[in-house]
Symmetry: C2
Subunit: 282 residues, 2 copies
């Protein structure tokens, strides 16, 4: 997905929020906003939004000197999600359609996001999503593809959310490769976060090498992209991965909750929709 | 009020919204955002937000070559408010406390604002505000000051809203000077807009000379500020005027609806509150 004009004020808002959450002082945040403001002029609007995100979070790392300012928040979210894990597994087991229930839960976990929307109420949001209709629902295609797929990649999104991803991966009952970012970006899931969530018990964990808050091909390792291009099914979680891959000719299914107006418009749905969408130009 | 960090992303959002409402093409809007982004670095945080607003709207005028891009919107809002005028007058006349009812209506009119929040439903918002409790309510002081005041200035805010101001001025039953901006800024009320709203029938209309979307002393005519400093009562409408005058030692009463988190925090109230606040450091 290209950058829309509406993304520009949002970059500033994200920088402000990320700076605060990373514990920067006001003067440091002002420097961050100065730099993000100054780079707007040279922003290629053809780029995907996570590519700009990559620059913003690089600046935060430079200013703070801290590699992973969201570490404690990520650990807290993962612990909270792990506490819910047994109950969520039960919910799946007792469901008439365990796979669909696991998909719903994986989307529910997608509310744990400090990039777009800082405030969320996990238990309340889960309840709401469990009864919500999908705005795009390519479930039949998802089931079909899953039946024959042998080489399945699952693109993680946020830490904490990964516990929910683990539940879906368990329900898939096949060998799955779980993909994490190359470096810490906001609260996006890294290798260590995935281990803490127990992903290593159900999947092989690999890094995409991405330095952006979303798997943007241009910012992933070339060797990873080569492997991904040979996948026969890719499950992509969240907005960042959608923004990075929405125009790539890959066998992707996008699972996400729509958290901003720009992505709502791009998908032709309303904000807060839940989405299970098959990539059209595979 | 000084500029808060949260104002910075908001300047970008305002520039985007103003550019769209002014009918700019996407490429022109991008240029506007580039320029607003680049000027963040040199932004004196001690300045009031309307001073930055002044620069943004100056850039919009330069890019469009149009002095008053909101003219037709202002005329439409004024016409709509005038249609409601007889009904609103009735509401005041039939009220147990006509002055308070007129104050409430003047605040209700403050929802007509394209600077902060583009979407509003005038009739619904009025109904809501008529039954809403004030978060700050210096009404007794307002009544007292009004009783003895001889030199009353009323600082207008948005076009359309001025019809509501007219109702309050009629209820004040004294000679009042109604103050408009020096140049068109967003949908702020100018001399011509005030005439259309019929303010000339109830008040003397003068321009503050302000080139900012709010009467910021530094951006008003010196001669106007001299006169204002001799006023024995100033009624200030809206956020822009609050931002410009909240720290000035003047006998001001601020009437406004709180439309953003920054002003809510500055006033120590919640968003959407309605306010009748006496300036403390008169």
């Amino acid at each position: 997905m290209k950058t829309y004009l509406d993304c520009i004020p949002c970059f500033m808002t994200q920088a402000l929020r990320a700076g605060r959450t990373a514990g920067l002082e006001d003067k440091q945040i002002k420097t961050l906003l100065d730099e993000v403001g100054a780079m707007i002029r040279d922003l290629p609007m053809g780029n995907t939004p996570p590519e700009t995100g990559a620059v913003i979070y690089q600046k935060i790392r430079e200013i703070t000197g801290i590699d992973d300012p969201f570490l404690s928040i990520k650990q807290k979210n993962t612990r909270e999600a792990l506490d819910m894990y047994p109950e969520l597994r039960q919910l799946v087991r007792r469901s008439d359609d365990p796979l669909l229930m696991a998909i719903r839960l994986a989307i529910a976990g997608n509310v744990i996001d400090f990039g777009v929307n800082r405030t969320f109420d996990l238990k309340k949001d889960i309840k709401q999503i469990l009864k919500q209709d999908f705005a795009i629902f390519d479930y039949a295609a998802f089931r079909n593809q899953l039946e024959t797929a042998k080489n399945i990649y699952y693109l993680g999104d946020n830490a904490g959310e990964s516990v929910f991803d683990r539940i879906l991966i368990e329900e898939i009952k096949k060998t799955v490769i779980f993909v994490v970012r190359g470096i810490p970006l906001i609260n996006d899931v890294t290798y260590e976060d995935a281990i803490m969530a127990g992903l290593d018990k159900v999947a092989e964990i690999v890094s995409s090498g991405s330095t952006a808050p979303g798997n943007v091909p241009a910012l992933c390792d070339l060797s990873f992209m080569e492997k991904l291009s040979r996948a026969d099914m890719i499950i992509s979680k969240g907005q960042g991965n959608y923004e990075g891959l929405s125009e790539e000719p890959l066998p992707v299914f996008f699972l996400l909750k729509v958290k901003c107006q720009v992505i709502a418009r791009d998908l032709g749905v309303t904000e807060n929709s839940i989405i299970l969408k098959q990539q059209k130009n595979q």
